[in-house]
Symmetry: C2
Subunit: 364 residues, 2 copies
């Protein structure tokens, strides 16, 4: 029903659409592991449920759940959310899930990248990651979507953003990290992206803001809001921990042109005033092979990690002084979409946010 | 997406269609447990794959597989078969799966009966059965089909056959067994069936042929082949172990009228000449709580346990002298369908056959 295809999306006339293009549904995984999520993942589960509920105002949501958590997830999630059994190693479907591509006839296919837990045996975040790596195939089997496999090429969905018209945004910190594709040159990696996502141009930002977790995914730093326009994190506070990265990214984007030769319009998006400090680290199980967690450590909390859905934006909120400003700025970027804020400190404690825990499937 | 409905199918204008009505797809589970299937379930898996392949000539098939077996099942099954993750306690989706109902507008819903492993703590075949009991909900969530739940009412799909026009066939041996609904009278059980399957008449056959496994499911004894016509097992050999049951069932059916007042036309279907004797019982793990298995014990092998699909019949074959006769007789009953025989001793060793391991979803 869902077949493996041996060619490449570009050869077959498929491209990755922008996140702002029409979607069929959003996929999520259910958080569970007590060595990553505090208090047995119960607070995180409620935050994930709130995100699912927010998205389901706009379009269908499918949440994939391990057999052990199936009944509980079904109980916690609103009835309009579809719940299917799927085993995973954690809950970051943006990164381990499929990347969908479309053609002009409305067909949808997907790319099933190699996934290695953000760095494999070099600096990956947990071991093993075998079940995460099966997620794209399982999703696509359910949907009857054919897949391209990229054996030996590691990529996470959170490390890329596209405009759907031939341009990709990414970071050198992540894609050139020794834990990803150490035997490939920057040019070879670009070629691979161009062939699989159907691109003409890759815009490289140097650094992301979380070197030790995702190695600096772009989805905490910048994104396309429509062709020719991007959003970028911004602060003028020199003491903010992400000041340099924000300034650098903004400068790079302001100087960049896209695949169509357009100079990008760059929208500024604030950072939280206060960092998000981990609370309750002593309720996170300590397991050999996972990143140890310390009370008060900084959790990466970027407003940039929002999800675009049909008619809406699902935006992280942290109880921070800048929460309202972030909503205002994002609403100004997307005048035709309704911005819905969801409190997501619990997701940030686990290492990501709304964009990291979702994967949109285009309508095609 | 898939909701629980509090009313009943009859109240909402839904009925269970005959198996011979148009189908959307067939569901199966993947056999795995080494305490039921010989040789680590490997031979059974090949037989299940052969059944899935045979069905997929006629219509889509989805096979549900535990996380541990996902990759192996994907490898063993042809690519046109959809494979989805689903945990279960064993592989009998006819009995633990949903019973689908349809209305005149083409809507499809399902009944999620209580399942208790063919007798619960009274004479059930294994413990626990919690994952089996979740199968209907998981199937219906994937498909977005609303379900009726019957708390406290136990039923297996293999214990009933309907004509889609108000008549049901079943056995007293099973439905009145103390392991099912011991606090209900025969009349109360009839009422429940009428309310959930939208019936006017229940035809009771006394005994099935496997008192110790399913407590005599009807699907080894008789079935509707179209409204007004049934098939029934038949032998004239007084020494055949199922002689009395076949004669009794045939007589009951010949004397019966259906919900529309029609006298039934009864077609005879042969039994295998030789019983199917279990081989390799010593490769079946011995676990407390499951039925112990002995070398040479009789495995129930009825040609009646076939599946009707769109344009086809998938018929068990045992390497028996009567295999060809069974094909000939079934082909005569279904002149417009292609009869495909599949060797299924390995499924019989596990306690059932093609009808037991499949569940058709009507097109609606």
């Amino acid at each position: 029903m869902a077949k493996r295809i041996e060619s490449t999306p570009k050869a077959d006339g498929f491209r990755m659409p922008g996140e702002f293009e029409e979607q069929k549904q959003v996929w999520m995984l259910w958080p569970e592991r007590p060595d990553n999520w505090r208090n047995g993942a119960k607070p995180a589960q409620k935050a994930f449920a709130a995100v699912a509920k927010a998205i389901s105002q706009f379009e269908p949501v499918t949440v994939c759940v391990s057999p052990a958590q199936y009944q509980h997830a079904r109980y916690e999630l609103p009835s309009e959310v579809r719940v299917v059994e799927m085993t995973s190693n954690d809950a970051w479907i943006r990164d381990c899930g499929p990347t969908f591509v479309v053609n002009d006839k409305g067909d949808v296919r997907a790319i099933d990248w190699d996934f290695n837990s953000w760095g494999g045996l070099y600096d990956g975040l947990y071991f093993p990651w075998d079940q995460d790596d099966l997620v794209p195939q399982k999703v696509c089997e359910i949907e009857g979507i054919d897949t391209y496999r990229t054996p030996g090429f590691v990529l996470e969905g959170g490390s890329i953003h596209v405009d759907g018209e031939g341009t990709l945004l990414t970071t050198e910190m992540c894609l050139l990290s020794p834990g990803r594709n150490p035997d490939m040159t920057k040019e070879e990696i670009e070629e691979k992206l161009k062939e699989y996502l159907n691109l003409e141009k890759v815009i490289w930002i140097r650094d992301g803001i979380d070197p030790y977790e995702t190695n600096g995914h772009i989805d905490d730093v910048a994104c396309f809001i429509r062709p020719g326009e991007v959003a970028c994190i911004w602060t003028e506070d020199e003491n903010h921990p992400f000041y340099r990265q924000a300034q650098d990214a903004y400068k790079t984007l302001c100087e960049a042109t896209d695949a169509k030769g357009r100079k990008l319009k760059v929208h500024k998006l604030c950072l939280s005033k206060e960092p998000c400090y981990l609370k309750g680290a002593d309720t996170i199980e300590c397991i050999e092979g996972t990143l140890p967690r310390e009370e008060g450590e900084v959790s990466i909390a970027s407003y940039m990690n929002f999800l675009i859905v049909n008619g809406g934006i699902i935006l992280p909120q942290y109880g921070d002084e800048n929460d309202a400003l972030a909503i205002e700025q994002v609403q100004a970027m997307f005048p035709d979409r309704k911005v819905v804020g969801v409190r997501t400190e619990e997701i940030a404690y686990g290492g990501g946010n709304i964009h990291c825990i979702t994967q949109q499937q285009p309508r095609g």
